[in-house]
């Protein structure tokens, strides 16, 4: 009996988990990282393949990075025929997951294209630099630069600059939260909302939830420890002195932020840090919506798309986006 019995996984999610366990990946370590990343950009369909036959267009662009840093690749998705002269649409700027150490934007083209198609918005999917080669603040500055670029090119993109939402899952959710903090602090462009899906916010790995999913589930405690070490270095990895733009839970002040949507599984290690983040926003009088799905593991909507839980979670996201974007 462990000191922290985990919340069990929902029955309908078990087949997805069993399928993953049946084909175990080699353990992710600093040494295995290059191998793990090999072919990451070809694991999922390309933007062109994804939009084929759908009323969505994809465009690959290279945009300036943060001052003194390399350029960034982004993929822009828009409803077919949408142009600068069209009625401006809201925009979603997406940051992919992968613990800030693995992944590629194409992993989440599907999530972005689905939203572009169903809501009639413009999607911008961002390629940012990964740790440990590019530790903090490389990734978050890339992501902030992509948000600012989108706002500054709103007219060209046919985007309403007052209706830009940043979003992401897991590490991408942490980045979206950090970009919202930076937009506030730097008096950057208007931000209409932050859509945080099971966001990675807290570098201390100190919550009950972070101990409950030690050795079980999808994103596990060991991986999280490794990821934060790569992003922050050994000294700051678990420290409360870590910078807020790396680990948004470290922000002393959560007032004055863009409205937040925070979604997480009840059976995953980010549960408590995400609930805490929402609670701290409310305590300042800020707007946040929180959904903690029963028995859901980290990334359940990606791994188990054809389930009642995933359908319900997507419906809640959709509802919030319609509310904050006036759709």
């Amino acid at each position: 009996m462990t000191a922290y019995p985990p919340v069990p996984f929902a029955d309908e999610l078990l087949p997805a988990l069993e399928a993953m366990n049946a084909a175990p990946q080699p353990p992710l370590t600093e040494e295995s990282l290059p191998h793990t990343r090999e072919g990451a950009d070809r694991m999922f369909p390309s933007a062109a393949e994804l939009v084929a036959g759908r009323a969505v267009e994809a465009e690959e662009r290279v945009i300036p990075g943060p001052a003194g840093s390399p350029e960034l690749e982004i993929t822009i998705f828009r409803p077919t025929g949408h142009a600068a002269a069209s009625t401006p649409l809201p925009a979603l700027v997406n940051y992919h997951g992968g613990g800030m150490i693995v992944g590629h934007r194409s992993w989440e083209h599907g999530r972005v294209v689905d939203l572009v198609e169903s809501l009639g918005v413009v999607g911008v999917n961002v390629e940012y630099r990964l740790a440990p080669e590019h530790p903090y603040p490389a990734g978050v500055e890339d992501n902030y630069a992509a948000f600012v670029w989108t706002a500054e090119h709103a007219a060209e993109l046919g985007v309403d600059p007052e209706r830009i939402v940043v979003m992401g899952g897991s590490a991408g959710g942490g980045f979206a939260a950090a970009v919202a903090l930076m937009a506030r602090d730097r008096k950057g462009p208007a931000l209409a909302g932050q859509l945080l899906i099971c966001p990675m916010l807290d570098n201390t790995n100190s919550t009950v939830g972070s101990y409950q999913y030690d050795g079980i589930g999808t994103w596990q405690r060991e991986l999280n420890l490794l990821a934060w070490r790569m992003v922050l270095g050994a000294e700051l990895a678990g420290s409360t002195a870590a910078p807020a733009y790396a680990a948004p839970s470290r922000a002393a002040d959560l007032s004055g932020l863009a409205p937040a949507f925070i979604e997480v599984g009840a059976a995953e290690m980010f549960r408590d840090e995400d609930v805490d983040y929402a609670s701290r926003i409310w305590a300042t009088g800020g707007q946040a919506e929180l959904h903690v799905w029963g028995g859901a593991f980290h990334g359940f909507d990606m791994y188990a798309p054809d389930t009642e839980l995933t359908r319900a979670a997507l419906a809640s996201r959709d509802s919030w986006l319609r509310r904050v974007l006036g759709l």
Binding site: Y4, A278, W320
Partner: protein
Amino acid sequence: MTTDAAPTPVPYDPALEPGLAAFLELVERIPLRGDTILANRAHFATIIPPIEAQIGELPLEFEHRRVPGPAGSPEIEVTIIRPRERAEAAPGVLGIHGGGLVLGTRFFGTPELIELALRYGTVGVAVEYRLAPEHPGPAAVEDCYAALEWFAAHAAELGVDPERIIVSGASAGGGLSAGVSLLARERGGPRLAGQLLNCPMLDDRNETVSSRQYDGIGAWDRNNNDTAWTAVLGDRRFGDDVSPAVAPARAAELGGLPPAHLEVGAAEVFRDETVAYASRIWAAGGQAELHVWAGAYHGFSGFSPEAIVSRAANEARDSWLRRTLGVEPSP
């Protein structure tokens, strides 16, 4: 009253403002204070439609019964609501009405049982529990628990699957549902398939951030809540020996409970105590689902049913019912 300035409240979703105004005008015309409880109760009685009017031409039937109360206490009135077309082994819902433990009748909670009977063919039992201050805690929760025992023991007669009985309620009814679940665990009582806690009233201490953010504003504000808990607990309030069955936030341990669905507005007194209750269930390895709706006031989904956020809240609750009871909505 505290002398500190109240913390800045989370603002309301503009789409909910008309519903909130209507709620305040209809339900909370008279501020709830110790000396206005009876006046409020009389007013409350005028706004609850009789069960005949609630059911109208719907393909449902209702039946009033008297069932045994807790040991040494009077009998309890219950109303059974079910589809006219009887099924075997239907899911069961013990419905517990709201009203701050001081107001309301079981017919304040029957709209939910009607909706569920139509949608999922459930058999609902609405329980008339005793109100404070005439009947302080734990009278109400003991009445509700007695009704659950009766319901479970008569499941076969009622055409109910005893493995699929949930307890459900809003506001005070949510707190009582949590309390009934705690009693069932403690006493080895009927096995509940779930507890549906809608904006539940869980904590007599009234000391969270959200309980201070809604002081003099919104539906069921800090002062109403204060009045109600004092009526329920009197001098025992705030003490160390408050029964968890009466104020479930006081339970030392929240493991081993039926799966919980908790929902609450981000802009109401009960927000933080509801989040804390869910968090403590998870910490014990228990099943809970939590939804905190942006800019939403106490009771928003019932009083602003057309708002986008209310529709989303109703859909999320519905999804949990489907997952928990294994039911599909009727076409």
